[in-house]
């Protein structure tokens, strides 16, 4: 047979394409459930790490059930959904594309060793691609308990430093809101300190600015909700008592 004839060439090309397509689609469909499970577990893992719960990926599912008490979806500061995993399945990237009126925001409520926390997911733009993170706030809805950040393709050693523990360690104990607006700021190192200031990364200015914008964009929508549901900030003494009662009640309900 002449393997250089037109007919053979066509037959070879078509046959090869069909065989390769079959192999690839079998591989893709048979591995899909495993891949999706990995993505879900990774998200649970990073939500948990913002409240200081470090678990292996395999155990993230069980730990998530244990620590995350409830989830709500907010629209214009009001709860519009509180079904199980309603916040988890909400795609924040899609919501941020919508107009402010229609936008819905996910919020997680966690309980760790008797203390309750809010976990706010965030998403923004870095220098090369998307950046995202989770911010855990204490029950007053203002004090940062912990924060994790991750990125798709920031420069290693510069912007990519936002995903390191050392950089994220600056966030705990900072305050988010001053009045109605988000005052928590990421700025150039050495330009000031205080309870609202986090040092950016030298050499990673655009990524640092991206984090700053992300904090302002994503956290501002939660202020109204925290004002109505969190403990009032005006009376600190009452505040601690109330938090103590709150956690005692929650603990009682638990047992």
């Amino acid at each position: 047979m002449n393997i250089n004839s037109n007919g053979y060439t066509f037959a070879f090309a078509s046959g090869m394409v069909i065989i390769v397509a079959a192999i690839l689609s079998v591989a893709a469909t048979s591995l899909k459930s495993k891949q999706d499970a990995n993505v879900v577990l990774e998200k649970k893992q990073s939500i948990l790490s913002s409240i200081g719960v470090a678990v292996e990926r395999d155990e993230a599912g069980a730990a998530y059930e244990e620590y995350i008490q409830s989830e709500v979806v907010l629209q214009k500061g009001m709860v519009v959904d509180s079904a199980k995993e309603c916040a988890f399945v909400l795609d924040l990237a899609e919501e941020l594309k919508k107009s402010a009126e229609e936008r819905r925001y996910p919020l997680f409520k966690a309980l760790v060793e008797g203390k309750s926390f809010y976990i706010v997911p965030m998403r923004g733009k870095g220098l090369w691609g998307p950046i995202w993170g989770y911010m855990a706030l204490a029950s007053d809805g203002n004090t940062v308990y912990g924060a994790t950040f991750d990125h798709k393709s920031e420069t290693p050693g510069l912007g990519a430093e936002i995903s390191t523990v050392a950089w994220q360690a600056q966030f705990p104990e900072k305050k988010v809101y001053s009045g109605e607006s988000v005052a928590l700021t990421v700025q150039k190192p050495g330009k000031g300190t205080g309870e609202y200031v986090v040092d950016g990364i030298s050499g990673g200015t655009i990524t640092s600015n991206g984090v700053d914008a992300m904090l302002k964009d994503c956290l501002s929508a939660y202020h109204a909700y925290f004002m109505t549901s969190a403990a009032p900030k005006s009376a600190p003494v009452v505040d601690t008592v109330r938090t103590a009662i709150d956690s005692a009640t929650v603990a009682a309900i638990q047992f």
């Binding site: 393997i3 250089n4 053979y8 060439t9 070879f12 090309a13 090869m16 394409v17 390769v20 192999i23 690839l24 591989a27 893709a28 591995l31 495993k34 891949q35 990995n38 993505v39 990774e42 990926r57 798709k152 393709s153 420069t155 290693p156 050693g157 510069l158 050499g203």
Partner: protein, 225 residues
């Protein structure tokens, strides 16, 4: 019957004959794909900031090169010569997509680290170069050895470059701090990491230094004026 089998065995050369061993060792030094043929440079610049992704990338390239070489070599007598490049591309692309899917399902962390670079194996000139220059004209076993050899040659340079870039750029190896914290200027010391090492130009310069060193040492590569 038994006599026939014996004669066939006598004719075929041993699996690791001198010639076959050369297929494995040549690309490590005398005919290194990166430093001598200057192929696959793009990925050598892009993923050598840290050692771990460089090693994972090397393993993926070795796997794709060896498997691709064997498959093309098995098909070499059936491939119409007019579409041989397209056939090679399809084989490589299919293998790379398979590798990517398997990484995503079983070693998710590694696949996240490599992100787009797994896809870029398709465009790695070494892979296409070996398929076209070697696998199309040689038996599967020889092609397999050639693939492994060239993959190892690529890996050696990648790991060497990543070693220097991570050590001097981040003061770490495999993510573990090597340079003591007290050495840094911020902590009252005298040392600062070289931020240039993290950027692609320094990878090119590092590869250049390795080529210089290799040419100075290896007399076979010195060209007569």
């Amino acid at each position: 019957m038994s006599q026939e089998v014996q004669t066939i065995e006598k004719v075929s050369e041993p699996l690791f004959s001198k010639k076959n061993r050369k297929l494995l060792t040549d690309p490590l030094n005398d005919n290194n794909p990166i430093t001598v043929q200057v192929l696959g440079i793009c990925s050598a610049l892009a993923i050598t900031v840290q050692l771990k992704p460089a090693i994972v990338m090397s393993i993926s390239v070795i796997a794709v090169l060896a498997l691709g070489n064997v498959i093309v070599s098995l098909m070499r007598n059936f491939i119409p010569s007019r579409i041989r490049i397209i056939v090679q591309l399809v084989v490589v692309a299919a293998l790379v997509i398979l590798v990517d899917q398997v990484l995503k399902a079983f070693v998710y962390d590694v696949s996240k680290q490599l992100s787009v670079f797994v896809g870029l194996i398709i465009t790695n000139c070494i892979v296409m170069g070996r398929l076209e220059a070697f696998a199309l004209a040689n038996t599967p076993w020889k092609s397999f050895l050639d693939g492994i050899g060239n993959g190892l040659g690529y890996a050696a340079i990648l790991v060497a470059v990543a070693f220097f870039r991570e050590l001097f750029g981040s003061g770490a190896l495999f993510g573990y701090k090597i340079i003591p914290d007290s050495w840094y200027i911020a902590n009252g010391g005298f040392y600062a990491n070289n931020g240039m090492m993290l950027l692609p130009p320094m990878a090119l310069i590092t590869v250049g230094l390795i080529i210089w060193l290799q040419r100075a040492k290896n007399t076979k590569l010195i060209e007569n004026a």
